[in-house]
Amino acid sequence: MEPKKIYGILSEKFGGKIKQFVENTLPPSVLVETDAIADVCRFLKEGDGLDFTSLMCLSGVDLKEQGRMAVVYHLHSMKQKHKITIKVELDRNNPHVQTVEQVWPGANWYEREAYDLLGIVFDGHSDLRRILLPEDWEGHPLRKDYVYPKRYHTWDV
């Protein structure tokens, strides 16, 4: 199915919650309102003819210039063989978004990673802990304004 058509189906179903269709990314992306992401994802997975079986990638992006953060979902359907990018944009100072862990269990670790490295909080996540960094690490390194620590415990960095 063409991404454009998927966008059509989505905006028909969710109306104003679907904000924008961006064609020049690869794969083309759909910008979704933050509070609707879990519903949209569930629909994308279970909706007729959509069948987005797997979440290929979930990335957090720090858009510092725009004062925002984004969470990008790269979805893929192994049954229908089509793919699409879903994006949500969050407030940079207080990034909160619903979890999609209930839709794709594999999202668990990706969300933990986004939380770890960018500080995006996924509401409803079952086990939101740091994953790559030590549990007592301060700050979120992938933020553009991250300040490198001088010391970690007894080590000079």
Binding site: L26, S54, S59, H74, M78, L142
Partner: protein
């Protein structure tokens, strides 16, 4: 360690444990030999590659991709190069494409040889590991002739490959391809169809297709569940659509489809197919440019791409955002082993300690890629 339920014992498996394939730590809750839960802890090998990517230029990041999945550096190089090429709209010359396929498939063989070998030593048989290493040396020699390095090749570059193959490479590769099938037969007789080995693996840790989708499992592990999905076929890149090869899928020969034995066997089958691909590519190889014209300073236009390639361990994806400068704005690496490992808590419930080792080995995870 305190535990409310006295019946269970908590054991740390790793970070230093012989069979955790690197520095994976599993917090195992057991009732005697039977596991009641596993909690993986990763990140011991975190080198902040994604952060480094934001501080180095596009060509400079290429050597770092070697260090993602160090057993399949060529494939990682390839995926990264394809990502940047997509952003820059570079057309890669045909000879370079064929060379890339040859290297990627040879690397797939060498990676699967390690997977096979380390899995066998996890299962307590040491000899197959040495045999796997022996054949891998052959491939390493080939790579060394081609690019001068034996492990971190940095051979496939943005626009093509770093240099043309020298004379004698093709003959040596053919020699290897002639020598290899007999060895696969030997592996099968020695290990794959060994009754003890089958008993250890059949019906262990079955991944159903739905679970595989849910957790984003890809590569041989997905195909073992009976799903015929291979990016080389589904979204052909390079010259894969011209090549004739099969995609082996798990059929549950020794038990249920998608069990550990199927996952193991996928790798043996794929080695055969890769050898077939390399043979065809050698025939296709015609003189030509080995790299496209790429300017020294790369300044891709602003934009974002998500490109993936079929790595030996699954789909390696690069999500690259460019802001028009010489350095990536954001590079997210979607490592196949990361997703493959995340299913372990689900699989390792009610199995025995020895099975946990079999599960880790059959998923063929590699930690540098997970921790990045």
């Amino acid at each position: 360690m305190t535990n409310a339920d006295e019946k269970f014992m908590q054991v740390n498996m790793g970070p230093q444990h012989p069979s955790t394939h690197g520095v994976l730590r599993l917090l195992v809750t057991t009732d005697g030999e039977v596991l009641s839960g596993v909690k993986p802890y990763i990140g011991y090998l975190h080198r902040a590659l994604e952060k480094i990517a934001e501080r180095v230029t596009y060509p400079q990041f290429s050597p770092f991709t070697d260090r993602l999945d160090y057993l399949a550096s060529m494939n990682c190089n390839l995926a990264y190069a394809m990502t940047v090429e997509k952003l820059l709209n570079i057309e890669v010359p045909r000879r370079a494409q064929i060379l890339r396929v040859i290297m990627a498939e040879l690397n797939r063989i060498s990676s699967h040889l390690i997977a096979f070998g380390s899995f066998s030593s996890d299962m307590g048989a040491f000899t197959p590991f040495l045999f796997g290493i022996r054949e891998r040396e052959f491939i390493n020699d080939l790579f060394e002739i081609a690019c001068g390095a034996r492990l971190t090749y940095n051979y496939i570059r943005i626009g093509g490959v770093s240099k043309d193959i020298p004379g004698g490479f093709i003959e040596k590769t053919r020699e290897f391809l002639d020598y290899f099938p007999a060895k696969i037969k030997e592996y099968n007789e020695l290990l794959s169809y060994n009754a003890i080995f089958i008993k250890r693996l059949a019906n262990i840790a079955v991944i159903s297709p739905d679970d595989a989708f849910d957790y984003g499992i890809t590569g041989p592990n997905l195909r073992a569940s009976g799903i015929k999905w291979d990016l080389r076929r589904e979204e052909p890149y390079l010259i894969y659509n011209e090549l004739d090869f099969d995609i082996p899928v798990g059929k549950g020969e020794m038990g249920k489809t998608g069990d550990a034995w199927d996952r193991y066997m996928m790798r043996i089958y794929e080695m055969e197919q890769s050898a077939k691909i390399v043979r065809q590519c050698l025939d296709l190889l015609a003189p030509g440019d080995y790299t496209a014209k790429v300017s020294k300073v790369l300044k891709p236009p602003a934009g974002e791409v998500y490109v993936r390639a079929e790595n030996p361990r699954g789909e390696l994806g690069f999500y690259l955002i460019s802001d028009g400068s010489t350095k990536p704005y954001r590079l997210k690496i979607r490592a196949p082993s990361f997703a493959n490992l995340s299913i372990i808590p689900k699989l390792a419930r009610g199995v025995m300690i020895a099975d946990l080792v079999a599960i880790i080995g059959s998923l063929d995870i590699i930690l540098p890629e997970i921790d990045r």
